[in-house]
């Protein structure tokens, strides 16, 4: 997943991860632990951005990795491991979102965090307002494309949709965000207006 221009390193990494999955099929816990360490942070951030809850995100990460443990034999080695794992994460998250709308806000005060993180929190306050208004599928697409760097083919594989649907979804998401966040079209004045 991510930039095709990174190809060589990415290809090696895919091969390593596919090797780990083969060992997981044989019941190798060390291999699973290695995959857990590799994917914990991106899975946690993905789940947290969708559920806005630390507890739920942590549960989802464990659910996803448990599914990896139980279903590693179903992985088709023509696919990328990351696409397969995020496909599981996507389905778990969407199932969770259907069951309940989680609205827990992290207990973080902006004056308690490092300067380097402050910009991110300010961005968060701006972007959260827009993303929160999007339908779940569009919000997930935004994350898959801009946080995880998925190609449209990978988004289609993860979400089980046609590529045309993925492209249209992103188009409508941008249109809706522009409508909800007028300052999007004028980022220079974003802070004044928001």
């Amino acid at each position: 997943m991510t930039n095709r221009r990174l190809d060589r390193t990415q290809h090696d990494s895919d091969a390593d991860e596919a090797g780990l999955l083969r060992e997981v099929v044989e019941g190798d816990r060390d291999a699973l632990a290695a995959l857990y360490r590799l994917y914990h942070t991106p899975l946690f951030r993905f789940a947290f951005r969708l559920t806005n809850s630390y507890g739920t995100a942590e549960e989802l990460v464990n659910d996803v990795m448990l599914a990896v443990w139980k279903n590693a034999h179903q992985f088709r080695h023509g696919s990328k491991v990351s696409t397969w794992i995020f496909g599981i994460a996507y389905r778990q998250c969407m199932s969770c979102l259907r069951r309940k709308r989680v609205t827990i806000v992290p207990d973080v005060r902006i004056d308690q965090i490092a300067d380097s993180a402050r910009d991110a929190i300010e961005d968060s306050q701006w972007i959260e307002r827009g993303l929160a208004e999007l339908p779940d599928e569009q919000r997930v697409s935004m994350l898959l494309v801009f946080y995880l760097g998925c190609s449209y083919g990978e988004v289609a594989e993860i979400t089980g949709c046609k590529e045309a649907t993925v492209k249209t979804r992103m188009f409508h998401a941008r249109r809706k965000l522009r409508s909800n966040l007028p300052s999007l079209a004028d980022p220079v004045n974003r802070e004044v207006k928001s």
Partner: protein, 208 residues
């Protein structure tokens, strides 16, 4: 290029812009986008918006508040969940048939799947002919929902459509199908305008 051609080109490029931003387009697509951007102010504005969104989402998602990976606790929780290897009866169709007969005799079997199963070999319960089975599909819309529901009802006059605010479910009773036939059936429904996705989520065997 005539006006219709320019409109098609504009639409095609506009749809590709998010992936131009995240740099996952193929080279020929990049060239096509860059050629179009030179003379299309609308797409340049859209690109500016997408760059702003991409930057904000990346910075926000990377906020360093992720807890340490609790690997040890997770591994401890695995004791009750060994990885599933292919079951011994997998290649034994007579055992499957016997199991199915027992289940049918016992009443109704409902297999609810939380998610599509990656390995299609596991997706079908039976390939026996002449058995009427109700297949439950989840339907997701991308266009006009009401219009798509009407189109579905016309395509499948005997089916039951269960509407909800999220995805609908449609129950279709028909002769038992193989995995590839079920995939083809779902794909044919996905070709209806306004339907984004059709996925098998359950199988119901009627009482004999």
């Amino acid at each position: 290029m005539n006006q219709a051609g320019r409109a098609r080109d504009h639409r095609a490029v506009e749809l590709l812009l998010p992936w131009y931003v995240n740099e996952t387009l193929e080279e020929h697509e990049v060239q096509s986008v860059e050629a179009h951007l030179q003379h299309c102010a609308d797409c340049r504005n859209a690109l500016r918006e997408l760059n702003a969104l991409s930057g904000a989402i990346k910075r926000t998602s990377a906020t360093p508040l992720v807890p340490d990976a609790p690997v040890d606790a997770f591994l401890k929780s695995l004791d009750e969940a060994q990885p599933q290897r292919r079951p011994a009866w997998y290649n034994n169709w007579s055992a499957i048939a016997a199991s199915l007969l027992a289940l049918v005799a016992a009443g109704v079997l409902y297999v609810a799947l939380d998610r599509p199963i990656a390995n299609p070999d596991f997706r079908t319960v039976t390939q026996a002919e002449g058995v009427q089975i109700s297949y439950v599909f989840e339907v997701e819309y991308s266009g006009d929902v009401e219009q798509s529901r009407r189109a579905l009802a016309e395509t499948l006059p005997g089916a039951m459509l269960m509407q909800s605010s999220g995805e609908d479910r449609i129950i279709v009773t028909m002769d038992s199908r193989t995995v590839s036939e079920l995939d083809a059936f779902a794909a044919s429904l996905q070709r209806i305008d306004g339907i984004a996705r059709v996925a098998l989520v359950g199988v119901q065997l009627p009482v004999d």
